[in-house]
């Protein structure tokens, strides 16, 4: 009897590990910033460079910080989703224009529409490093106390909005 049980148990254990392992995304690096205060910064706004934007301005509100760039390919996929979300007026979306040229960024928004309340221009990518950005697009959900609650790595999709981001936003808004 043992000769059959042992290989079977070994098979089940290996299969379980592989099943979990193959479903993980090795490109996804979990952010250590979850449940930590969003790093402070003050950057010129994209549309009005003489004005500054700082996450401090957003205390008391739940908001999304979406890292984007005109050179980013997946941002194009994400863009209509963000446009639809902006129209719904559920949560303000702020942009962090990452390592971009101002003109390119403005052109990009003029062509595809601007879902952002405003965008901050991180020309040199320094704030991106503070936020642990390693691939654009990335989206942070930040709560009323200025704490990062969730990080979406890669494009925001209808599915990720419905399953994760919007329920979390609602929960944080009611707190």
């Amino acid at each position: 009897m043992m000769r059959y049980i042992l290989p079977f148990v070994a098979f089940v254990v290996i299969a379980a590990f592989l099943f979990v392992g193959l479903n993980l995304n090795p490109r996804e690096v979990p952010s250590p910033l979850i449940d930590k205060p969003a790093p402070a910064f003050s950057l010129p706004q994209l549309h009005e460079p003489e004005k500054q934007f700082s996450p401090q301005d957003m205390l008391g509100k739940v908001w999304l910080l979406n890292v984007w760039a005109s050179w980013c390919v997946s941002c194009k996929d994400e863009h209509p989703v963000l446009m639809a979300l902006a129209r719904q007026n559920l949560v303000p979306i702020y942009g962090l224009d990452y390592k971009d040229k101002r003109e390119d960024a403005l052109n990009w928004l003029a062509r595809g529409g601007d879902p952002y309340v405003l965008s901050a221009a991180d020309i040199e990518g320094r704030i991106g490093i503070d936020y642990g950005v390693y691939g654009v697009p990335e989206t942070y959900v930040i709560d009323k106390q200025g704490i990062i609650r969730y990080k979406q790595i890669g494009a925001v999709t209808v599915q990720s909005l419905e399953e994760k981001i919007l329920p979390l936003v609602k929960e944080l808004q009611n707190k």
Binding site: R27, P30, K99, E124, R126, I129, G132, Y134
Partner: protein, 155 residues
Amino acid sequence: MKRILILLLSLVPVMVFAGEAKDMAQDPVVEKRMIGLAENLRCLVCQNESLASSHAELAEDLRREVREQIKKGMSDKEIVDYLVSRYGDFVLYDPPMKTSTALLWFGPFLLFLMGGAFLFYQLRKRNQVMPEAELSPEAQKRAAALLNNDIDNKA
């Protein structure tokens, strides 16, 4: 006029060179320390490359960041801690021992122990399964006869 133009043009390559080598030339000590650190850090974009060898734009930015922090007088540990606080243990090629990395550190030993136990168990079982059969004299004679017979038949 022409001479001045030629003189100016001949300066162009010099200027270009000066621009490219600036980082290295500025401070070789900083550069050496930066490379030393970056060799043990992982690039987030090309995940199997070190920060020192990667050409990804993010890697260049991170090298710049490390360079600046060295110039600010931060210790190696402070710089590594800074990067870990942004990108997690993932940036380290030498991950620290924690509850979440216990399996990584002890997994191989655990597998080794399991393999050893299995081998031990199998070897012991094999010794038990094949004991020397004790035969009575008659049985031995019969066995010998059978064996001989077998050989004869085959021949």
